[in-house]
Point group: C2
Chain length 297, copies 2
Amino acid sequence: MQDDYPSRIETRAKVQPRLDPVIYPEAETPILSSCTLSTQQLNDFEKNGYLLLPGLFNSSEVNEFHQAITAIQQDESLKNSPVAITERGNSELRSVFQIHQNHPLFSNVARDPRIADIARRILGGDVYIHQSRLNFKPGFKGKEFYWHSDFETWHVEDGMPRMRAISCSILLTDNNAKNGALMLMPGSHKEFISCVGETPENHYETSLQKQEYGIPSNESLQYLSDKYGIDCAEAAAGSVLFFDCNIMHGSNSNITPDPRSNLFFVYNHIDNMVYEPFSLQPPRPEYICSRETIKTL
Amino acid sequence: MQDDYPSRIETRAKVQPRLDPVIYPEAETPILSSCTLSTQQLNDFEKNGYLLLPGLFNSSEVNEFHQAITAIQQDESLKNSPVAITERGNSELRSVFQIHQNHPLFSNVARDPRIADIARRILGGDVYIHQSRLNFKPGFKGKEFYWHSDFETWHVEDGMPRMRAISCSILLTDNNAKNGALMLMPGSHKEFISCVGETPENHYETSLQKQEYGIPSNESLQYLSDKYGIDCAEAAAGSVLFFDCNIMHGSNSNITPDPRSNLFFVYNHIDNMVYEPFSLQPPRPEYICSRETIKTL
């Protein structure tokens, strides 16, 4: 298959324009009606590459999520499961993957029309879950997630052909700049930044703690930051952040006592299913990238 | 000498009230007249433990500081000097100590009445420089400075008897929550949090990269954060932040391309000179703590 977004191949970082729409045309079979994005919101998403929707889930729903997460955190059997990623250097839980498969509550949330319909609208039709996870950034010692474009990784390591995927992050605690809220470069989703350095085998075994490949160069980040600036997605628990698969984003550490935890669902359009990884490495495991279990929502 | 603020002795963290004033009575011999703190500003400092003064240095002064710092950064001989501290895990410059002794420009800045008179007013009389340093938090990979009370370290490791010292931080770049501006717990300077764990010998050799002792417990930080909240000292280059020696403060990492660098002078009242360290360890070197070279400004 042709590689329309080559990365980790050349010895110098390159910038190429995005080849794909950000907002896809509406599907011919109309989607469910509860999608409430206004034309203004669609335009904002197209321009900025992200959209913050305050209070999409109410406090009793957020409480229900917290109870389910506490059970996950206390599940000792999970700690030895590959889906559970701990922080580098300590045993603190950093991420839990594949929650849309393993947890009935979160499986339902992934299908909730308040978010799934927005994904269907932006991506123009039927979608499936490419990846899902809980991200904890614990208080006192939560670590950075360095700058990256998700698409760069999903393309190179998973074989996602084109930019037709979207992340939905449900804020489980109040997120602010002090506790390491997500920072995004608005508009950066319009350019694809290739990275330097071949992907090592089984990169995912370390990259989920700290990514070492697929990292944009300092020059690329300076270029994007000068051109687009940096926004910080500050909002209360229950808010939802949608962001394009190719937007440059990352977050700082968290030394405050307040944990920053979020629930992530990555929606991919059914016509954009993953093939063989463009890195020519073996595919990443199913819990990181749906391949065998693809089902339209 | 009696230890009025014991720390790193017991096996449990304790909270004790501050025994010292925050604003000392004005000295009998009146200080220079350029100190412009209003009663309101003095009250704010007393209550919050810090005071942010925007634009105290103008842009041409800031440029002059930047030029001097570039020369310091390019000085290869400095890299092997003990006054230069690099980041843990890389050779990026993190701090340079004793700049008030080694650099004529910064020696003059330390004496500048716009800041020195404020220190004299708050501390009630003659002051000397206990410590000075440049702190770099480089873009992309600047690391955290974890929560601490400066006084806890200066008391235990340097033998500073009482709380009669103040830090003055001159912002050399714009500081904001995204690039790791200083976070402070306003009001926390009124309580002394003792820490757990005996100080190892030559602690300073590692603590200036990452402090491992003299760290408040999670419970102490949660207590202070619940009681006082967390402020973030966001301001433009040229602004000055004064903060009390005992205020709980720290800062997150910096993954943005924008460096966060600040100049620090610690003023101590001449009657509060350091004695033997309360840890009973040998004193830290002169470049970290003035002992042999104490001179009233």
